[in-house]
Amino acid sequence: MTALGAMTALGTALRVEVLAWRRSTVQRVATPLLVLLVPLAAVGLTALARSGAVDGAGAPKLAAYATGDPATTHLGVAGQVLAVAALMAGGFAAAAVFGQPLADGRAGAYFGLATPRGTVALARGLVVLAWTAACVLVAIGLTVALSAAVTAAASGSFGSTAWAAAGRALGAGVLAAGLAVPFAAVATATRSPLATVGALIGVVALTQLVVLVGGGSWFPYAVPSLWTGTGGPAAAAGVGGGALALTAAVAPAGAALVVAQWRRLTDV
């Protein structure tokens, strides 16, 4: 296939996959959850931490949100939530769009098409990635708007540190979205959406262990969270450009893997 033919096929597959994803139940449920819960959690948790109403086991966890510029805290919390939520949302989406057709046999219908299976898989992965990244962007936009409204009501200001936190939250969310791409390969290998969700949960648990033993700053699945300050300012400062680049490389590597899997797919 020529380069022009490949681009045409990708364009065709993207048109079909965008429509399919727009209509999917998973997308319809996950989108409002992701874009509404994040700003509400960011502003709500900050307000709760500063209210003094929380004591017991939850108090130390919220202590970091109890001081400092409120708007910067809002965006910092949003980044921390998105660092996990974007991975989970993207992972669930990958489980649904790659695992379900293989589980119910619909993937067999992609054989013998003028649009190659690998191209369909690439388009599907790009749509999931773009959707997750778009949700991250909208969630941060809503958080900025809500935070600006809340701080203005309290006679505060939405300053440069808050914008910097918004930028980092956006970066962390998009990185986390990219970390979900390899779960398309997991879904293809296991041919099971549930097994993929299990693997996703397993990776999140593994990340906790890696961070606990101090190896998180170079572990891609820990990098977005650490970078947004989940492990404290020192851990955030320990995340360098190399770790961020390594984390960003996970998405294209995962995409290349799933495209190769779909090209070689058999026994469907």
């Binding site: 065709t12 429509l19 098409l113 649009t115 369909v120």
Partner: protein, 260 residues
Amino acid sequence: MTTPALLLDAVRRSFGTRPALDGLSLKVDPGEVVAMIGLNGAGKTTALRVLTGRLRPASGTARVLQRDPARLDVATARRVGNVVGAPLVDPALTVAENLRAAALLNGVPRAQVTAAGAAAVGRLDLAAWAGARARDLSAGNAQRLGVACATVHDPAALVLDEPTSALDPRGVVLVRELVRERARAGAAVLVSSHHLDEVARVADRVAVVHAGRVVGELDPRGADIERRFFAMVLAADTPGSGPDAPAGAGGRAPRGRRAA
């Protein structure tokens, strides 16, 4: 001599220790409708999976329009349609959307996608459900949609696995007319079915598949196809019976056997 548009030659495939295809050979020429009939587990669907590239044979040859079905180039793939198992239908999309998606994925030029979808809706009488989601369709209408999606690009080689299993008599007639129309246009059509009466009406040739191979052919125009089918299967199961034995029961040795 006509080059077959669909060809399986001495194909063998096992699942674990259980042989599913035991040297199955079959060919379909352009303009011809061939029906595969057989008991459950005879190997019909496995043969169709091999022919559509979904399953690699352990040995033997599969060809669709002279190409390996597992590695179809784009130009060839544009001329192929199939429904084997689950069709190219997204349950979340409407009938019209599914047909547009199928047309696009099957290589119909964008300017012609709407017309191709409308034509497919008309052929299979789906207009009343054009705006309905596929998941809300009855089993019969869903099956008609699957066939419509597989034929929206007017393929020159068409493989259909039990395309009328869920259809009411009207749907059966629609699919029969579609199959015959494709054949009149020069397409090679291979259909598997359990509906012997329907097979007799739609097929030019009937291949009887049993124990993973074609054990003979039946004349679809002859009387009492069901009796002849069972006689052929029984003869194939009888020790010492060769593939020529069923001829006396109203059948003949398979034309596609060792087709190369």
